[in-house]
Symmetry: C2
Subunit: 364 residues, 2 copies
């Protein structure tokens, strides 16, 4: 059986003040009536039924997400005691799927990316799941449109095959977020894709890689797997599972799947896809999702802009009047307001950190 695993944890501090710790970032409605999570789920149909969709998130976050998409069965929400990056989260999903079906394949997906061409997305996921039958770990690559320094890159090696019009390449190398010059080189060379963070593989294949490359994680997963096999009750009511999870989880190293597994894995393939993809990581990147006026201002809410250009304004309940400014993000909520140049939106993390430090937990 094929499963979609959506990694939906993460509070997204860079999207403060709209994002808050108690809410998963993907539960927010930034640019649509639907939350990013709802959008991520709805673009999976008809490739996956709700029963085939697994969600990994913290307990509080899972409750919020489950309310937003009640058609996903409650037992498909897998609880992380705390976020420890993507490798442990994927491992947790993997053992749950293995308990259901040892032959399961999984598509690891994100909910905080925008995908404009969902039809192509679904076809690419289906193609990648085909490729994974040959024990490949498959990454969806994104055909780069600019020399971005915000994404990791994947170098394509020799072509393996072509499926449904998608060329499948062996992966030569993963490149971390590059400097500007290196990014320009890679764009020019043409045989690089952005790393989308979306992966397709057999559960058995990724478990084997965990065993070789992340033995501490693998051992913890094995301990958990035993508790799942010895019981018929779903994990949320399985006391032994929950006891072991609470015990082993803190000892698992925080690690991303990219660094922990992909870079050194043996059979890795990449499928470059052109699907109007966008990482919604901060206020600046989100701007393109809004319709813009002739001065390049993207506005949600009530705003009066005079002599202003390239603003990103997300309003709350009040009028926002701006005179003579450019390239700012302005985000207004009931209890907090953010004003920040678009090239400094990464520093919104620092605002949140400082609020936390000063004990203003109501605002973070």
């Amino acid at each position: 059986m094929n499963y979609a695993v959506i990694l939906a944890g993460g509070a997204g501090t860079r999207l403060w003040p709209l994002s808050r710790e108690r809410l998963p970032k993907t539960a927010l409605r930034f640019y649509s009536d639907q939350s990013m999570f709802q959008i991520a789920v709805s673009r999976l149909a008809p490739l996956f039924t709700p029963e085939q969709i697994i969600v990994v998130a913290g307990r509080g976050h899972a409750a919020v997400l489950s309310e937003q998409v009640p058609e996903i069965p409650l037992e498909n929400f897998i609880i992380e005691p705390e976020g420890r990056n993507t490798a442990p989260a994927i491992g947790l999903a993997a053992i749950h799927l293995a308990a259901r079906d040892p032959e399961a394949r999984m598509a690891v997906l994100t909910a905080d990316h925008h995908i404009g061409d969902t039809e192509t997305f679904r076809r690419a996921v289906a193609a990648a799941l085909e490729v994974s039958l040959n024990d490949y770990l498959v990454t969806l690559g994104i055909a780069p449109t600019e020399p971005s320094t915000q994404y990791g890159y994947i170098e394509q090696g020799p072509q393996i095959c072509e499926i449904d019009g998608f060329k499948v390449f062996r992966t030569e190398r993963f490149v971390e977020k590059p400097q500007q010059e290196r990014a320009e080189d890679m764009l020019e060379q043409g045989n690089y894709s952005w790393n989308s963070g979306m992966f397709m593989w057999k559960v058995s294949a990724i478990m084997l890689e965990f065993q070789h490359q992340m033995p501490v994680l693998h051992r913890a997963l094995q301990q958990l797997q035993v508790t799942l096999q010895s019981s018929k009750s779903p994990s949320r009511e399985n006391e032994e599972y929950n006891r072991v999870l609470a015990e082993v989880w803190p000892s698992i190293p925080r690690q991303s799947i990219d660094y922990g597994v992909m870079e050194m894995a043996r059979k890795v393939a990449v499928i470059p896809v052109d699907m109007a993809w966008l990482d919604i990581g901060n206020w600046s990147s989100m701007k393109v999702l809004f319709s813009q006026d002739e001065s390049g201002n993207a506005v949600k809410g009530d705003a009066l802009l005079l002599d202003s250009r390239n603003l990103m304004v997300v309003g709350g309940k009040r009028l926002i009047a701006i005179v003579g400014l450019e390239d700012l993000a302005v985000v207004d909520t009931d209890d907090a307001l953010l004003i920040c140049p678009k090239d400094r939106v990464g520093d919104v993390r620092r605002v949140v950190a400082q609020l936390k430090e000063s004990g203003r937990t109501d605002l973070v």
Copy 2:
């Protein structure tokens, strides 16, 4: 008898969103627990008793101001049917004072100026009232501290006398708000003062000037004067007065006392005063009234500023977080927020005008 006449009308659109049409600008509490009007009144004691303080304002504004300073008798609030600039307002006050005392002298004062050294202010007003006994129209000049292009200037002629340490000069000329170069010249020459808009004169002297220079205004004032003399009831209950006022007021030309009278008057004196005076005309000028942090940020309310300098932040009920910005005014209220570079604060008028045009009267 000496009287203080405070011109308290005016909505001060450049101080939007704190200032609103329904409120006189001087009723606002910008930088103190007291409103600018309350501050203006309290700095007059002990030079003037509350009975000696006359306030000219629109009907709605007068009600608000009267509530703020109940010790001023209700009949001392003189109602302008609508603002027609300073000359008509002063004329209206003049006939009311003439009805009380044909020998009355008046000090025309403002409430939207900050005066740091109130002791010197009171001594200067007293000195100017002395000088006015010789039928001079006296202006308080402000010793200029910078080549400002925001103020009118007064050129000093020969010295007339010295009173209580204040040098009194004949006025050579009134100069309108100058260009930068001209302002620098005048500062260097040293014989120029800023025009403070504060004047002291005999009621009879200013009425004579109205007669010569502003005949339409003078005729209207004479018609009103008749209704005051023929009745013992105060003007607010004097039906005849109110009927004539409503009739003549719209026909009076809008004119400032500077252009309408002072520039061409025959006996004009200026007393340069150094009293830490500041025109609170817009958000930028107000900044110096706030205490500032080491980066030059002036904050009222709840703000978290990262890598930011020379900001003027007037908060409402919410946290305002600002990252990496300089030289902005940010003013937050329950229903409207303003963000504007400090050198563009004059354009706040345009915001208000645009809101009015689009029918958003709740916000102006």
